[in-house]
């Protein structure tokens, strides 16, 4: 299922480059055939597999053998991981736009390393003073009392 990753990568590159658009079209044909339970006939999957295996063969023929023999399984894992991270990135982007942080409306601002409107100092334990306040805080600091 490497074609799906290839399609997305070349699809994005194809916004800027005509040659990548052709590769994206090939990858799309492959994705379409695979999702309709047919063998890919554009050759995209084979070219990508060959490139990966060939590059690995330079460093480690044993790894190349493993990747070659289990390529379909490995590419499914990466495809699923990619889709899952895409979904989570989508949620985070939505939260950032709507709630000004990546976690959601009930988020503890300290959980989020970066929020565009505020700068929060990460108050880890070593940074708390005797009274439970963040030592690093200056006038601009907005951190809560340390636990």
């Amino acid at each position: 299922m490497i074609c799906l990753l290839t399609f997305i990568v070349f699809g994005v590159l194809g916004i800027f480059s005509a040659s990548h658009r052709e590769l994206a079209k090939e990858a799309f044909q492959c994705v379409f055939r695979r999702t309709t339970f047919r063998k890919c006939d554009s050759g995209t999957d084979i070219k990508v597999k060959g490139k990966i295996v060939g590059t690995l063969m330079k460093k480690s023929p044993k790894s190349a053998k493993i990747v070659h023999n289990h390529f379909e399984f490995i590419s499914w894992i990466f495809t699923i991981l990619f889709l899952v991270s895409l979904v989570y990135s989508g949620f985070s982007a939505y939260n950032l736009i709507v709630h000004d942080n990546c976690v959601g409306p009930d988020a503890d601002p300290e959980q989020c390393i970066f929020t565009p409107s505020e700068t929060v100092v990460d108050c880890g334990d070593p940074l708390c003073d005797d009274e439970g306040h963040c030592q690093e805080c200056g006038d601009d600091c907005d951190c809560n009392d340390c636990e």
Binding site: G43, I46, G50, V53, M57, P61
Partner: protein
């Protein structure tokens, strides 16, 4: 033949191991410089303008035509027609000459099969060992007025017994068209001695530039043919309703030509003649013999040849090519090599093809063997 000295003329060789000459040969600096010379010093029209640049173009094109004439042993330069490639040369004859029945072999490149398919066309099958069936040919030839055969097959490097074929054909009043795209760069061909009627080849397979090719034919046959493409330079006069066709070779060279390419092609022919064609074939055969074929299935003819066509069981041919390219910059071809008809008829999967030429070395074959060995271990 001094391969190391030849390799110095091909700086591109530092980019990897090039084993795809059957598709396109590399170009020596001499040919590249000659092309650049045209564009830098006399980028003008030939055959039309009488200023100094135009006359320089005429002189160089005439010289290139003369080089090709000497290269193939033709009688006269006007028998040399410049085309875009062998495909165009074959199509020119197919569309300009009336043939009643045409015979081709069963291992033709699409360029020497498709133009004939719309004519009354038949195919002669090879023997079981993929060699040419001379006895069957002797029986069939009298029914045909043209045979159009590939001289050396790009599929597996097999070379037809052309002397015998031409002799039998002419005894039966059958004309012979030779697709010499894969043979001309690798061995000496003398069209006069062989008494060939038509011959086509591409410049890009013989160290020449892309967009160049040659049609050679006997003068009386060229005079019989009507131009397939008409335009500038094919006529010496015209009115609104008629025109007067030019003499050879201009009759078949319509429009402004690829002067840089033609001049480069002339230089390529000169370069090959200087090396000497006798040693090239032996060099390639030696390299192919050195390939370790254990665990590899050979495709097609298995005798002496300069092309190695193969399949590794349980591995797609495109993957073989991709792996070789990524692991050690070894450049081979994969697929059906434009001979789809043969693969379909023999029910063979697409294969990988390594083709050798003057700039390939035993060291490169050694590296190929090592990588093929790694691939075989990976698959098994």
């Amino acid at each position: 033949m001094n391969t190391e000295k030849i390799r110095q003329d091909f700086p591109i060789l530092k980019k990897g191991i090039y084993l795809d000459t059957a598709c396109m040969s590399l170009k020596p600096t001499q040919v590249i410089n000659k092309i650049n010379e045209y564009y830098n010093e006399y980028p003008s029209c030939g055959g039309r303008s009488i200023h100094k640049l135009g006359m320089k173009v005429d002189k160089e094109v005439t010289e290139a035509r003369n080089q090709i004439k000497k290269f193939i042993g033709a009688k006269d330069s006007k028998q040399i027609i410049f085309t875009k490639n062998a495909t165009e040369a074959i199509n020119l004859v197919a569309n300009s000459f009336k043939f009643n029945k045409v015979l081709t072999t069963d291992r033709e490149h699409n360029s020497n099969l498709l133009p004939w398919q719309e004519k009354n066309h038949e195919v002669i099958k090879s023997k079981e060992d993929f060699t040419f069936d001379l006895e069957l040919f002797q029986e069939k030839v009298k029914d045909f007025d043209l045979i159009s055969f590939v001289h050396t097959s790009n599929l597996d490097g097999y070379t037809l017994p052309i002397k015998e074929i031409i002799k039998i054909a002419h005894e039966n009043n059958t004309k012979v068209f030779l697709d010499a795209a894969q043979s001309i760069p690798h061995k000496e061909i003398n069209v006069k001695k062989l008494d060939i009627d038509f011959l086509a080849f591409s410049g890009h397979k013989m160290l020449g530039p892309t967009g160049t090719g040659v049609l050679y034919a006997k003068e009386e046959l060229l005079n019989e043919m009507k131009p397939f493409i008409k335009g500038g330079e094919t006529v010496y006069d015209s009115t609104y309703t008629e025109h007067k066709i030019e003499k050879l070779p201009a009759k078949f060279e319509a429009g402004l030509q690829n002067y840089a390419g033609i001049i480069g092609l002339g230089e390529a022919a000169k370069y090959l003649k200087k090396i000497g064609m006798e040693d090239i074939k032996d060099h390639e055969i030696k390299l192919v013999k050195a390939i370790d074929t254990e665990g590899i299935k050979k495709v097609g003819y298995n005798g002496e040849r300069g092309i190695f066509n193969f399949i590794i069981p349980n591995l797609n041919a495109h993957e073989i090519a991709s792996i070789l390219n990524s692991s050690k910059d070894i450049m081979i071809r994969s697929g059906m090599h434009c001979v789809h008809s043969w693969y379909n008829a023999n029910k063979i999967e697409p294969s990988a093809r390594a083709s050798f030429y003057i700039y390939n070395t035993m060291e490169e074959v050694k590296i190929l063997n090592e990588e093929l060995e790694k691939i075989k271990r990976m698959v098994n």
